[in-house]
Symmetry: C2
Subunit: 423 residues, 2 copies
């Protein structure tokens, strides 16, 4: 079968946040798109499968981007001398309003898809815009790419410019239902409910989305506690909430039975952290965005210590780079600054830990994803790291570190998602 | 003549830290390796010169790396879960000791040079190791590359491992003189005196280097106030000094008549800042290294406000990336974290400001370097930024920002140093 085969190479994946499994010159089995483990010798039962020899190359699980905005890809690197709320109003909303034009959307999403396919990510949770036709273009292209993604038509019916604001909660909900109808044909591209963030959504809209969530069982993604000004505003909008996370929880859109990703959580305090832990909310840690928009440095070490689920996000275009290898390096670097400048009780993250976050940590939101252990969906990236090797011999953890800090899409030799080769 | 010609394209350079000159579709004149300005129409007197048409491409001054360690290039990205002093002892010194082996040096420096030629930097101030043969290999290769660099054989005669420690100040100074004798044949590669840092150099060695400096007039490069543990140690080693900078000043190796670069200055306080300003010391700001080694965030805004001279450094391999475009982006991002987390009186740096620092700011250490104004040495990078353009039309400052955040060596279409094409 097309999606049953064996890869041979230097295989590396996370067992736990601090334990990296490294199996040089070994065999990785893909059976019907599912991993069957890594073996130093090819087991008898798999000898009939086609073998792809990637000897000398690193093979790692596909990377998972838990948070990115597809329409913002076009303006990466621009207009970032602003904080979140001003940046939204002067840069992001005008850019997103362009996606009313389907020709523009076609052009812009083509460039995004080329980048996503070339890089090391295999999965992503993606914000679209509020526009149905542009969201369909995005989902069509993602489906054709072979990547596995969750995509959200954005809901926003207040505090937004006239040309990027749904007329009412009822309109927003009706559009959302229409979009869900239109999204049934995909096999790799699934909808995720996407209230932009509390300031953009009326109480009626939030209640309607909660009803829709209960009806459909769909997952939810939004933003949480990214920026101090935003947090103050949410407190004004929801005076009864005890924290920003509680404002979502009061609408039943914050974990529990609802699979939920909250992006950023830069300023989540003890109460919000506990709430996320208890309700199984995933934090999408987006370190580069948090520097570019002057947001701060999220307390990831605390989240891990407290048992909160954490993955990594590029947050394109708060972040400029789609690759989650870059997010791993940024996460290590920013955790060091947090240790040095904010709280020296928060030990810095290691490369191994951020590799876990960018594979298995975020992968868990998609199910059994982010590892090569028996039963995991088969997402794999083959990396030709020969150009990155130092002039002496190094072990696999050091090779991985070099890839995290130094690689780009030129080093991605091949990429598989659910056993299907996409690059 | 070979190094008299005209480039046509979209030309961009810093006039001041906050004023970017942007001249689309214009003519940049190089006469005998010297810039003669930028013109919207080609002046009559230059019509006989060969014209290279780079229409549609960005042309910017060559980037200047004020601080990097050539022997550390080989281990970029490795072993960075340590602070400075431990990192030196367990990672850096063992790596540098390999350069006693000239075959290793040949191999390692070949990879470094390939990277330096491919990227956007045209000038650099470089630490070698203490080894004369390896330093000669490095200087030979740099000279052949066409880049213009200052290279320092490192002086270190204490607090270093036995296989990377000069036996005495006299030995170190004798080797330094031999190296200076051997370095006379280069035209683009000039020596710079390089006491590693106070902890590595005995008082006798510092005094000897100061004498040598007076005798030769050579410039000096070293490290300053990078890490809190280092600063405490220097205070113990030099109990009479009022600050780390004063410890260099007491040996007459801190600006004044001595052209001096001090790398990092992460923790320089008011007294040290004033001393640098008054003595014209150049700060090599190395933002990525300061994250990787958990050092902190240098007060660059304060340096600029106080009139201190500042350039950018990659600090390979405290930093992983040689490109000074990356240092510009890192400098912006870290200044935002400093504003947010350390001192909100220190306004974040802009892309325009860090572009100034990475061209004209550091270039001034080399003389009239880092601009296209009449009389500046002609260092230019031609950037094919077409793959980086958004799907709508943007002005040149935005194109430059995209290049700073997103470009890599694939976008460097051509590079000229002192009028000589090197890529």
């Amino acid at each position: 079968m097309d999606n049953s085969f064996v890869l041979k190479g230097d295989i590396c994946y996370s067992e736990t946040p601090t334990r990296l499994a490294c199996q040089p010159n070994s065999y990785l089995i893909c059976e019907n798109g599912v991993a069957r483990g890594v073996f130093p010798e090819l087991p008898e039962e798999y000898r009939g499968l086609p073998l792809r020899d990637c000897s000398g190359k690193l093979i790692v699980p596909g990377l998972v981007d838990l948070h990115m905005h597809a329409p913002q890809y076009a303006f990466r690197g621009l207009g970032m001398d602003l904080e979140l709320l001003d940046w939204l109003n002067t840069q992001t909303f005008p850019e997103e309003s362009r996606y009313a034009d389907t020709a523009y959307a076609e052009r812009a999403y083509q460039a995004l898809l080329a980048d996503l396919v070339a890089g090391p990510n295999t999965r992503a949770c993606i914000f679209s815009t509020l526009h149905l036709p542009a969201t369909k273009i995005l989902m069509d292209r993602l489906e054709a790419s072979g990547l596995v993604t969750m995509v959200g038509k954005v809901n926003m019916d207040r505090n937004s410019p006239e040309n990027l604001c749904e007329k009412s909660a009822a309109d927003s909900l009706a559009d959302t239902r229409r979009w869900l109808e239109d999204s049934r044909s995909y096999s790799r591209t699934t909808p995720i409910l996407t209230p932009r963030f509390i300031p953009s959504c009326t109480d009626d809209l939030m209640r309607g989305l909660a009803d829709l969530q209960k009806e459909t069982g769909l997952p939810v993604q939004s933003h949480l506690s990214e920026n101090p000004g935003e947090i103050t505003w949410v407190q004004e909008l929801c005076p009864d909430s005890s924290c920003y996370g509680d404002a979502y929880a009061r609408f039943d859109l914050f974990g529990g039975d609802v699979p939920t990703i909250m992006a950023h959580c830069t300023w989540s305090g003890p109460e919000e952290t506990e709430l996320m832990r208890d309700r199984g909310v995933y934090v999408a840690h987006c370190p580069q965005s948090n520097t570019n928009l002057s947001s701060g440095i999220a307390p990831v070490r605390t989240f891990l210590n407290e048992g909160v689920r954490v993955g990594l996000g590029s947050d394109v275009a708060g972040g400029c780079h789609a690759s989650i290898f870059r997010a791993m390096a940024d996460a290590v670097q920013m955790s060091k600054m947090r240790w040095r400048l904010v709280d020296d009780a928060d030990k810095a993250l290691t490369v191994e830990e951020t590799f876990f976050l960018g594979t298995r940590g975020g992968g868990a939101f998609f199910g059994q994803v982010g590892s090569f252990e028996d039963g995991f969906e088969f997402d794999a990236v083959v990396i030709d790291d020969a150009p990155l090797l130092p002039p002496y011999s190094v072990e696999m953890p050091d090779r991985l570190a070099r890839v995290v800090y130094l690689s780009d899409d030129r080093h991605v030799a091949a990429k598989f998602v659910r056993g299907k080769q996409v690059k």
